[in-house]
């Protein structure tokens, strides 16, 4: 995330925009080109938020660009609306509304399907604009006569007509766009966007309503597109129909990728390169129409080799140059816990779970009654009654085919039961989803790490804590993330609990496996759950790591209820107080570890009558 001196980026942008008219002409930029760059740049801020930050690759932005542009142009030309800026804002709102409706349809799908639908949307909008709505949009002629913005200040009138005069107007709005964009990505909403991009499954599991956030990103992108579309009309004094064309979406994507996704400035840089090369290749090298071919090849090369575009490449170069002095500590084992030292449970700061439901901290916290799961003819779990009390540490074991993972998935609400009921802290959670259940205080740590891979340790935990502090969805796009009450304290507490304080600002990709596992547990802990489910926490660990992890889990278990599944019997029995044994989809027996070890029926279940 962009964590720098406050307002550094904004100031630099303002300075850059102010200096541009004096510097750029010497580099061969005509004023009209600069203006076009600004419009693309603004269009791209929204797209970058959608794609670079939220991971949604939409080929349909031209639809919103055209909508905003034509609504504004229509108001200003046919409807005789007097104020340019107000018309622009109305166009923006229109685009945002359309974006919302389109998003409702498109965002029901993900990945490839989503991309395909956005392609179709772009084409549909173009055809509709061209034919049925031609009276309003001027069909293939577009809408001419869009006026320049002018402001009557009483004693004088300021008109921004064209060239460098108009530059001031456009640069102003670009600046506003950047300030707003930066605000959005620095907000909690921006953090959740990144989480969705990296790992939508986990983002939902830590309590965020990702569908609503996706729609938010889509609407934001639509608003930027709509406003930029209006500016296009103003800039050209004419609203062209090719705003709606698919190639507009295509060029936007290419410019953003060339400049660098996930940077907000990528589209501006990409547009500069694109338009500069277009002029240069055509004029200087006399290549005529081949400039697009060259740019296409450049685009393919960048996607293959420089995945984060020009800005990303410069950033990596900078890091490489500044790192050459230091020796990056190799992290094969990570920061190990001191062996046999006095790292006892009392050393770890306790993080008491938030008081949740109305019950006291006695009695059952989770109660499953008659839980059954059928897959067609196969019965995975049959009529299971299962109760865990507050503060217990319970283990679930069972031989192959016992139905442990299915049972676990029903408890975490990843899979709905065929019949039966689950009550958690007095709430009936049967058939609810992981997001709701996390909000109620039940979380899970996964067998295979589900981390936010492009973020640091601290940023990972921030995402999880935000889920607790802000609920499923909140539209606080203008709030500074530092201003979220209690965020820093809770993140620090979680870091300490899983012993990752020293590695807080390390990116996930640089962590050792054991550290990643601790972060995995940390993500489940960060929202102060009252019930923590752990799916094979010891998976893939060396003997040493197992010892450390058991110690860690014991320290976490203070004042918290935990249910653990694992195949490592020795470690599990050391950790848990009570064990439930499943066999062939049913509960066989429950008891303390000692009772289970000595129970012949359990041995029989595992060893299958070999020892007769």
């Amino acid at each position: 995330m962009i964590k720098q001196r406050p307002f550094l980026v904004e100031t630099l942008t303002a300075v850059g925009l102010l200096l541009a008219p004096f510097v750029l002409p010497y580099l061969g930029f005509a004023p009209n080109t600069v203006n076009r760059i600004l419009v693309w740049g603004l269009f791209g801020i929204g797209f970058d938020i959608l794609f670079g930050f939220t991971g949604l690759l939409s080929f349909g932005q031209s639809a919103l660009y055209g909508t905003g542009g034509f609504v504004a142009a229509y108001l200003l030309t046919q409807a005789g609306f007097p104020h340019v800026v107000t018309a622009l804002f109305i166009g923006m709102v229109a685009a945002a509304v359309v974006g919302y409706l389109v998003g409702l349809i498109a965002l029901r799908s993900t990945g490839i399907y989503f991309a395909m639908i956005t392609v179709a949307i772009a084409e549909v909008f173009f055809f509709v604009e061209f034919n049925p709505l031609a009276e309003w949009t001027g069909g293939e002629n577009g809408l001419p006569g869009v006026p320049s913005p002018s402001f009557d200040l009483g004693f004088t009138q300021i008109t921004f007509s064209s060239g460098w005069s108009l530059y001031g107007f456009l640069a102003f709005w670009y600046f506003i766009g950047i300030v707003v964009g930066l605000r959005i990505i620095r907000s909690p909403v921006g953090a959740v966007f990144r989480a969705i991009r990296d790992n939508p499954l986990r983002a939902a599991a830590v309590g965020h309503n990702i569908h609503s956030y996706k729609i938010t990103a889509f609407v934001i992108a639509a608003a930027y597109a709509g406003f930029a579309g209006g500016l296009l009309g103003v800039m050209q004094a004419f609203m062209p129909p090719d705003a709606f064309m698919f190639h507009t979406s295509a060029e936007l994507i290419m410019m953003t990728a060339i400049g660098g996704t996930g940077t907000l400035f990528g589209p501006l840089v990409g547009a500069s390169i694109w338009l500069f090369l277009q002029d240069f290749l055509q004029a200087a090298l006399g290549l005529g129409a081949a400039w697009k071919l060259v740019l296409g090849v450049v685009f393919v090369l960048l996607v293959c080799f420089l995945r984060r575009g020009i800005i990303g490449g410069i950033h990596d170069l900078y890091l490489w140059l500044t790192r050459r002095g230091e020796t990056e500590p190799d992290a094969p084992e990570g920061v190990p816990l001191p062996l046999g030292a006095d790292v006892t449970a009392s050393d770890m700061p306790a993080m008491p779970p938030q008081p949740r439901a109305t019950d006291g901290h006695d009695g059952p916290i989770l109660q499953a009654v008659g839980l059954t799961k059928r897959y067609g003819g196969l019965v995975a779990n049959s009529d299971i009654d299962f109760t865990v009390n507050h503060g217990e540490v319970r283990g679930i074991i069972g031989p192959n085919g016992a139905g442990k993972s299915t049972f676990f998935k029903m408890l975490t609400c990843e899979v709905p039961p065929t019949s039966g009921r689950i009550v958690f802290e007095g709430n009936d959670i049967t058939g609810r989803n992981v997001t709701d259940v996390c909000q109620l205080g039940l979380t899970k740590s996964y067998q295979v790490n589900q981390l936010f891979t492009r973020l640091t340790v601290r940023e990972n935990l921030i995402i999880a804590v935000l889920g607790e502090l802000r609920g499923k969805f909140r539209l606080d796009i203008f709030r500074k993330i530092d201003n979220v009450q209690g965020l820093t304290e809770q993140v620090e507490r979680t870091l300490a609990m899983v012993n990752l304080t020293a590695r807080a600002d390390t990116p996930v990709t640089a962590l050792a496996y054991g550290e990643k596992r601790r972060l995995e547990i940390g993500l489940a802990l960060a929202s102060s759950p009252s019930l923590l489910l752990l799916d094979e926490p010891l998976a893939g660990m060396s003997p040493q790591e197992r010892v450390e992890t058991v110690r860690l889990l014991k320290s976490i278990s203070r004042g918290r209820t935990m249910i653990v599944i694992d195949h490592d019997m020795d470690s599990l029995f050391e950790l848990v107080e009570r064990v439930t044994v499943l066999q062939e989809g049913r509960v066989l027996v429950e008891g303390t570890p000692e009772e289970i070890k000595g129970n012949p029926a359990v041995q029989e279940a595992y060893l299958g009558g070999v020892l007769e």
């Binding site: 074991i397 496996y513 195949h567 019997m569 595992y606 299958g608």
Partner: protein, 232 residues
């Protein structure tokens, strides 16, 4: 020289370390079993031998050729076959097509008749699509598919899982016949009775480490070992 020699095998799922320096050897015509609890790494071991999971280090020497790290089609050509635990037959192809496909690139493939002799049920169902077969039939087909390539060694990953006792009996007979004909087999199986009946030697794996090796007879005589690593 053993038919199969495995040294220092380390395998990962992403960066999760599953197998720690696993080693074993299998002689010609032997049936060797690999047993352990769920999640101990039995399946991963077989997959690592076959190249479905690429081990990060270690050697897998089959008849003098090291196949560790090679793509599984290359390992198949070296003479190894794996019958996956979820069978993975091609549902959209019929029985005969599944068999023909398997034999396409084999040097010494078995004639179809020999397969059908071993598994008469498959002859009856040869035109049926994979999705229409019962669990037992699918398992037979999966094993037949491996055999048609005349492999030097066959790895069986939980072949009896989820099957009715009657079918398990039939399959066990087929396995016994195969072993009697000299086929070298590595067997991973949760059904300990079947395993100890078929295998001559047994390896026990726990938490990704090989913790015990012995003959089936010895293990039957020392149930404590089984308690320790397979029980609770």
């Amino acid at each position: 020289m053993s038919l199969l020699e495995v040294h220092g095998l380390n395998s990962y799922y992403a960066d999760s370390h599953i197998l720690f320096d696993v080693g074993m050897h299998v002689e010609r015509n032997e049936v060797v079993a690999l047993i352990g609890r769920n999640g101990a790494g039995k399946s991963t071991t077989l997959k690592s031998l076959m190249g479905v999971v690429r081990p990060r280090s270690g050697q897998v020497v089959l008849d003098g050729v090291n196949v560790a790290g090679k793509a599984s089609h290359a390992v198949a050509h070296a003479g190894m076959q794996l019958v996956h635990e979820d069978r993975r037959i091609f549902g959209s192809l019929n029985v005969e097509e599944n068999l023909v496909l398997a034999g396409l690139t084999a040097d010494n493939k078995w004639p179809l008749d020999r397969i059908y002799e071993m598994f008469p049920r498959l002859r009856e169902r040869k035109g049926s699509r994979g999705t229409d077969l019962s669990g037992g039939e699918q398992q037979m087909l999966a094993i037949a598919r491996a055999l048609i390539r005349d492999p030097k060694i066959v790895l069986l990953d939980e072949p009896f899982e989820g099957l009715a006792p009657v079918i398990v009996r039939d399959l066990m007979k087929a396995c016994r016949d195969l072993a009697a004909e000299g086929q070298t087999i590595v067997l991973v199986e949760q059904n300990l009775a079947a395993t100890l009946a078929l295998a001559q030697r047994v390896y026990i794996i726990n938490n990704g480490h090989i913790v015990h090796e012995g003959t089936a007879a010895d293990i039957k005589a020392q149930p404590e070992v089984l308690h320790r690593y397979l029980g609770v």
